[in-house]
Symmetry: C3
Subunit: 206 residues, 3 copies
Amino acid sequence: MNTIHPTAVIGDDVELGDNNYVGPYCYLTGYLTVGDNNRFESHCAVGTRPEHTQHWHKDGRTIIGDGGIFREHTSIHAAMTDGLTRVDNDVIMLRGAHVAHDCVIEEGVTLSCDATILGHVHVMKGSNCGTGCKIHQYQVVGSWSMIGMGCIVPKKSKLEPGQTWVGNPARRLKTNMYALDKLNVDEYDLIEETARWTQLVKNHGL
Amino acid sequence: MNTIHPTAVIGDDVELGDNNYVGPYCYLTGYLTVGDNNRFESHCAVGTRPEHTQHWHKDGRTIIGDGGIFREHTSIHAAMTDGLTRVDNDVIMLRGAHVAHDCVIEEGVTLSCDATILGHVHVMKGSNCGTGCKIHQYQVVGSWSMIGMGCIVPKKSKLEPGQTWVGNPARRLKTNMYALDKLNVDEYDLIEETARWTQLVKNHGL
Amino acid sequence: MNTIHPTAVIGDDVELGDNNYVGPYCYLTGYLTVGDNNRFESHCAVGTRPEHTQHWHKDGRTIIGDGGIFREHTSIHAAMTDGLTRVDNDVIMLRGAHVAHDCVIEEGVTLSCDATILGHVHVMKGSNCGTGCKIHQYQVVGSWSMIGMGCIVPKKSKLEPGQTWVGNPARRLKTNMYALDKLNVDEYDLIEETARWTQLVKNHGL
């Protein structure tokens, strides 16, 4: 059973799994599928139309997995026609974080307060996008990255897995040993994910 | 006819034109005039009081033109007494963007996600203020400017028309050929707008 | 008497003093105590749970003093168990500003638009945290500080009282004479507050 606050607005085409909490003033809309055990705190906008001049008036698809935490004033935009915005399991979006159209946010990613992930970005598993960071369209954030507080990531940055990035514009600070140790990542995992990242970067035309 | 979501709150002194969409949890208030064909997605606050210690409890005026797109969590503040906040036709404000009291946002301007335009700023036509940029009070952003993602524009910057700005603090990167070409701006247009910009800068005491 | 908009949601454990204004779509919840004469403009989330992986499902305590201004889309998080989030008298939070769990925001502090104060931060009296600034967890912002627009304050910065900080990462620009003069701060006040700041920095393990 889902717990839905009486002030929440949920569109007709939204499919909710089980055991979700949808708090006050949350707006879930469009062709949106939500898994189980998610918590939408308050004032969330999920599945709204893509921010793209050709798509102000078209609904697209959004899929959200299980176990996510979506805090106050967060937003997740639907994809453009034939696209898909995908937020995998156990993703945390802190207050004010934003995921734009056609993004993929993989398992276990944290988007801190006011982190902004622009259109078509792919954030690979276990990454942490810090408070107020901004990630340019079409970027691929490698697995287990740490994007520092206030870090501005332009199109040309190459965010290979397991690194820490800071500054405006982003520069590599160091290997993200904190995450690699905590998540028990060995060098074979890193090699595998770096290969996957390389392919994604190629697919994104970067 | 306007389409107004039942959860929207619209004040008694608000005048709405025709064919506007006002989505869930939008709050339109104060001495606010809205034209036609605008779309307020959700959780917008428009016409609220100026953020100024002398004006917490006074309503001011706001005028919005036609064809605007105002996405989730955007806000536009009314002017101080005898002032005017003006948002012209075809302005796009992406999720979380903010226009403070007594601003002028000219035709065709885009304010990207979380762009913050502080009090008394004048953004000239066709400019693009990037994701998370912050523009200091009383600035004048020249026509066809591109203010880059995360760019912080202090009071002393001189943003003449047709340029691209990046960094914290803002520095000029290059001529914004992308916009000038796309919008078919020739050198006479640029000279004219630069003259208008020079006058506005003078009026703003910069 | 308090003025509470019919769309506001106020939890059972919230205690409101007198003469507060709670505007549309405000959500006040948790073990929250609010003094007198505060204004919550719209879309505020106050007293919601701490953003901490161990505390998604636990309510904590929040105390707000008198005479505060809390604008659109602001948020204040409750403390973790046994902790306290404290916002003292005459605090101003402009649109989109955020105070995380277990913070102390002292009297007369202004948090400008989209300023983000992360967990366990202590902002000492009379400080001004500028538009879009980000303050790292456990920081202590000295009294009468000016944190500039877009300034990113990492953990290692030492923000002694009465200074102005700018940039990403933060660097000291100058003595904040504007505030010291305006607030009539003499050198004995500064010495006293610097001693208090030194003690707080030590308590915070910085």
